[in-house]
């Protein structure tokens, strides 16, 4: 096998254009995909639970009445809402992949907004996929920012009215009663006048009593105003919940995608091309006529393609690591993910190569198969119909890209699912495609 390996390396060394293409093409594709990932989709499907009683949908802040449904209508322009009744149903929708996320409006949100004493909180539940999180997070964040800005404006108006009331006096409604407030300016005038005119133990006690009442109320209202003002910047807050594993920043996820794409292209193209080359050069029949066992030939191509793609992507990853904050303490996991991923892609490559008689046909077949597989694996749940998504999941699981992406993402970012499961999945695929390649080679002499 080593002589065949040396021979193939010699051939590669004498094919600089091929090698350059093998490196440049996947890197270019990876960069394009990384760029594309930075853009969010239009209206993601989001489960929506509104636990606020219908009677409390209108919020009263001072003299202002705000219809909360106005904000949900605005949000629904940016998402495709799937209305459910309970938090449990929403979680189930996220788990099943029917929706990208769930947005839960708790029952006390209007009370909190009305009181102004503490920020109201809405809950967003994501699936553990970085891409999905990013899609929904950016959409919901932008809409909540709009709602926050609108509420903050209203709260500012209320606060300004309160302050004005304290300064100038007037009436306001308290527990259904109209209360008359003197105002600080009038108080100051009364107190000043009273102090100058009244002797000690004067009968003008009632006036001073009013002053005292106002002073107490003013202190209380000023305290309240401080709390109200503290919530002005963000009256609505988001509580995020992740169903599976930890959250992966999109930048790190894009790195994982770029590396997985490069690994796939270099490995699949090389394995398929070098195996097909044996037949294009008519050497296959000569080799398997007792010189080399077919299994050894396949193993040699897998080692060649896997080894080369492993080195290329490892160098690429290390290069990226100089500019993007990667966790270098996980380097051993990077190696494991890249190595086993390369093995699985090499299996797919030799399976493709075993079907073609020419390098060009093998390369074309490899491209035609690899590109859709990569894009399928990046389709987020909720972006397509449930049945179709199930098909996408099955197809993605039958080929190495999705588990390789999971393995690399886990190795780089510690994301779920765990590394061991992905590696075992990849090893299984490597063996399965190796068997397919071996069976396909029986057709050729």
């Amino acid at each position: 096998m080593r002589w065949l390996l040396l021979k193939d390396l010699q051939i590669l060394r004498r094919s600089p254009l091929l090698v350059a293409l093998l490196v440049i093409y996947p890197v270019a594709i990876a960069l394009l995909i990384g760029f594309a990932l930075s853009r969010s989709p239009e209206r993601p499907r989001v489960a929506f639970v509104n636990l606020v009683p219908p009677s409390e949908n209108v919020i009263t802040l001072g003299n202002q009445r705000i219809d909360a449904s106005k904000y949900s209508s605005q949000l629904f322009q940016s998402i495709q809402p799937v209305r459910v009744s309970t938090r449990a149903q929403a979680i189930q929708k996220v788990r099943s992949g029917d929706v990208l996320a769930a947005l839960i409006i708790p029952a006390d949100v209007t009370q909190r907004l009305t009181s102004g004493l503490s920020p109201a909180q809405v809950e967003v539940i994501y699936n553990g996929d970085a891409l999905k999180q990013s899609f929904v997070q950016s959409t919901i964040s932008s809409k909540l920012a709009e709602a926050n800005a609108a509420l903050a404006g209203t709260l500012k108006t209320v606060a300004a009215q309160d302050v004005d009331l304290l300064l100038r006096g007037g009436t306001f409604s308290l527990l259904g009663r109209q209360v008359n407030i003197l105002g600080l300016r009038a108080t100051q005038a009364i107190v000043t006048a009273s102090r100058g005119q009244l002797p000690r133990h004067s009968p003008a006690r009632a006036a001073l009593g009013r002053v005292s009442q106002f002073a107490n109320l003013a202190v209380a209202n000023l305290d309240l105003s401080k709390q109200v003002l503290s919530t002005l910047s963000q009256p609505l807050q988001v509580k995020s919940t992740l169903l599976h594993g930890r959250r992966t920043p999109l930048d790190s996820f894009a790195v994982a995608v770029a590396v997985a794409v490069s690994l796939m292209f270099v490995c699949v193209l090389l394995a398929a091309g070098m195996l097909a080359l044996e037949r294009e050069e008519n050497a296959f029949g000569r080799l398997v006529r007792g010189l080399v066992r077919r299994e050894s030939l396949l193993a040699e191509k897998m080692i060649l393609a896997g080894g080369c793609s492993f080195l290329v992507t490892l160098l690429m990853l290390m290069g990226i690591g100089l500019f993007v904050g990667l966790d270098w303490s996980r380097f051993a996991l990077w190696l494991a993910a890249l190595l086993v991923g390369a093995l699985a892609f090499a299996g797919l490559g030799v399976a493709i190569g075993s079907l073609a008689r020419e390098v060009r046909a093998a390369s074309l077949l490899a491209l035609l198969l690899s590109l859709p597989l990569a894009f399928l694996a990046l389709v987020p749940s909720g972006a397509v119909a449930v049945g179709l998504y199930d098909v996408v999941r099955v197809v993605s699981a039958a080929f190495p890209f999705k588990p390789a992406l999971d393995a690399i993402n886990t190795a780089l970012n510690g994301s779920e699912p765990g590394l061991v499961g992905s590696l075992l999945h990849l090893l299984g695929l490597a063996a399965a495609f190796g068997v397919i390649a071996r069976l396909a080679l029986r057709r050729f002499a």
């Binding site: 002589w3 065949l4 021979k7 010699q10 051939i11 004498r14 094919s15 050069e281 008519n282 050497a283 029949g285 000569r286 080799l287 398997v288 006529r289 007792g290 010189l291 080399v292 002499a445």
Partner: protein
């Protein structure tokens, strides 16, 4: 019978009842023959007669559906119709690679011997892709001879060669046979079979129609002294092909 006589008369390679089926189609049907050491045997027949299939089975590339092949100890040399060598490697690199894959005791000595025999020493370091078709075919033949096989099988070895290259190739092959190597080749050129084969096998539709010398084939259709190609065509007509 003495052991020497016995050894001399023992076939270098023998096929018995070879049949090859591809689904419903029979590419070969009950073919039996043998070749003696140092004998030059030509396999002729129309397109689709089963010539390449027969050689592939003799070479061990394909398995027969029925029948068996008795091969000599050691490897049977195989020269496919298209050069089965690597165009990105040089002549010497190709020879060295296959010598190593053949697990020869002294690969470098075998490479030197082949460079000498094929007259390619001055082109040894050139990439095969830059060589002429004739020289590539010489390397192809040389690879088949690296293990010094007792039997050499060639599938239409001269089809891509010009007349001068063809002449050199047959001289080379004749030299091998004179040294005791059995040479079995297929060809479309019945003239080549007449000139370079001591015996011919005529195949048509997978069936062995004739085994004997070219002269006997001409006699079989009553055409002694006539053109061998005309005799061959007449024979096929007479046999219903």
């Amino acid at each position: 019978m003495s052991s020497a006589t016995s050894a001399a008369s023992a076939p270098a390679i023998a096929a018995r009842g070879l049949t090859k089926r591809y689904g419903e189609r029979e590419a070969l049907r009950d073919v039996t023959f043998e070749a003696r050491p140092g004998e030059r045997m030509g396999i002729i027949g129309p397109n689709g007669a089963g010539k390449t299939t027969l050689l592939s089975i003799l070479a061990g590339i394909q398995s027969p559906s029925a029948g068996d092949v008795t091969r000599p100890s050691g490897r049977v040399g195989w020269v496919p119709q298209q050069p089965a060598v690597y165009s990105k490697l040089s002549v010497v690199e190709n020879l060295r690679l296959f010598a190593r894959l053949e697990r020869l005791a002294d690969p470098e000595a075998a490479v030197e011997r082949m460079l000498e025999q094929t007259g390619l020493r001055d082109r040894a370091d050139e990439e095969l892709g830059r060589l002429s078709g004739g020289n590539r075919q010489r390397v192809n033949v040389a690879v088949g001879l690296l293990a010094a096989p007792a039997v050499l099988l060639l599938d239409e070895p001269s089809s891509a060669l010009d007349p001068r290259q063809r002449e050199r190739l047959w001289q080379f092959i004749g030299g091998l046979a004179s040294e005791g190597t059995s040479v079995i080749f297929s060809t479309h050129n019945v003239g080549e079979a007449e000139h370079y084969a001591e015996r011919v096998l005529v195949l048509a539709d997978g069936e062995l129609l004739f085994e004997g010398t070219p002269a006997r084939l001409a006699e079989a259709v009553g055409g002694e002294g006539a053109d061998f190609e005309a005799a061959f065509v007449a024979f096929l007509h007479a046999e219903g092909h």
